[in-house]
Symmetry: C2
Subunit: 201 residues, 2 copies
């Protein structure tokens, strides 16, 4: 039996996926978690063969959780399961040590198939997405530029961002200006959206 841990914040989706996997005769869902922190705790206790992690989760995201899991349970394979097939997400997932990257758009039967292939030592990645991730190149934003852009994403003014990051307003303006230039955007809103589309935030 393949022992699976399932981490996904939407209860209905988590329940449905658990049911789906439970129907496979060689798969057993040994743990469920509604966020990344919980996933780590449950993984420690249940020692799964593979962890299915959503990226967008409260408290600790799936990428972070994957990296931590690789440290604490090196024998546990990680499959990232996400709504958005963003190039930067795929890159981060691979750097965090994930064995597979699935988008929720794909058919349900691919999930069990991916689990079996990962356990057999394979890596499972959509070729088109891999190409997009490689052609897009790495994240060009510096850490501070990323922070400034993230802090500005909710409509905060330059003054707000400066206070949040303990910087002068001029410095924040410079970082945002650089982020706008690097993303090829015309203003901060476009820059935020472009960066999010690439998975750079």
């Amino acid at each position: 039996m393949i022992r699976v841990l399932l981490a996904e914040d939407q209860g209905m989706v988590r329940g449905a996926l658990a049911t789906l996997l439970g129907l496979e005769e060689d798969i057993e869902v040994v743990g469920e978690a509604a966020d990344g922190e919980e996933a780590l705790v449950v993984a420690e206790r249940t020692r799964p063969d593979v962890a299915l992690l959503d990226i967008e989760m409260p408290r600790r995201n799936g990428i972070d959780t994957a990296a931590e899991l690789r440290r604490t349970l090196p024998d546990c394979r990680v499959i990232i399961l996400t709504t958005f097939g963003r190039p930067g997400y795929l890159r981060s997932a691979m750097e965090a040590g994930a064995s597979a990257f699935l988008v929720k758009d794909s058919p349900a039967r691919e999930l069990a198939a991916a689990i079996r292939r990962v356990l057999a030592g394979e890596r499972v990645i959509d070729p088109a997405l891999a190409a997009a991730a490689l052609s897009a190149g790495p994240n060009p934003l510096s850490p501070r530029e990323r922070e400034a852009l993230t802090a500005a994403a909710d409509g905060s003014t330059i003054g707000d961002v400066a206070r949040k990051l303990h910087l002068s307003e001029g410095t924040v303006r410079n970082y945002l200006s650089a982020a706008i230039r690097k993303t090829g955007a015309r203003n901060r809103i476009e820059a935020v959206r472009a960066a999010q589309r690439q998975g750079w935030l």
Copy 2:
């Protein structure tokens, strides 16, 4: 047997939910659709007792689809199943004739329960969400203000929006200014986010 149509754009979630419902001995999934348009076509052919509609779908959203379905198949009950429990969504869903409003956060077993209750003539709505929808009041934005805000949401400049809506730049500025005031925001970004949070766009 209760005949169910399931419309949800994410293949994996759709497949898992279909499997989940198929396990219930009194429920039968007679049709699946990946968007609103497809849902209408499949509903016409399969004549379900109840249609489960996601809101965020390509081509035609779940609210629109619900309203159209109430016209073409008045005997078919509609259940809205959504990621976001936004007050405005609930309001729109009810106005479109939905019998139930479920968020994907809730446990999986509530889905089958809601289907049975709806078929028994009940309405199923989270009381806390209903209270939020009522206390939030109706959408204060005029149609043009909503259009201007929506058009500006992707980082378009005032000039872009003016061209899109065939208006003068001054008029667009006025609409955005009004939208900012009505949402209690400090700029257009906050206004967009506030309006989205309320389900006003």
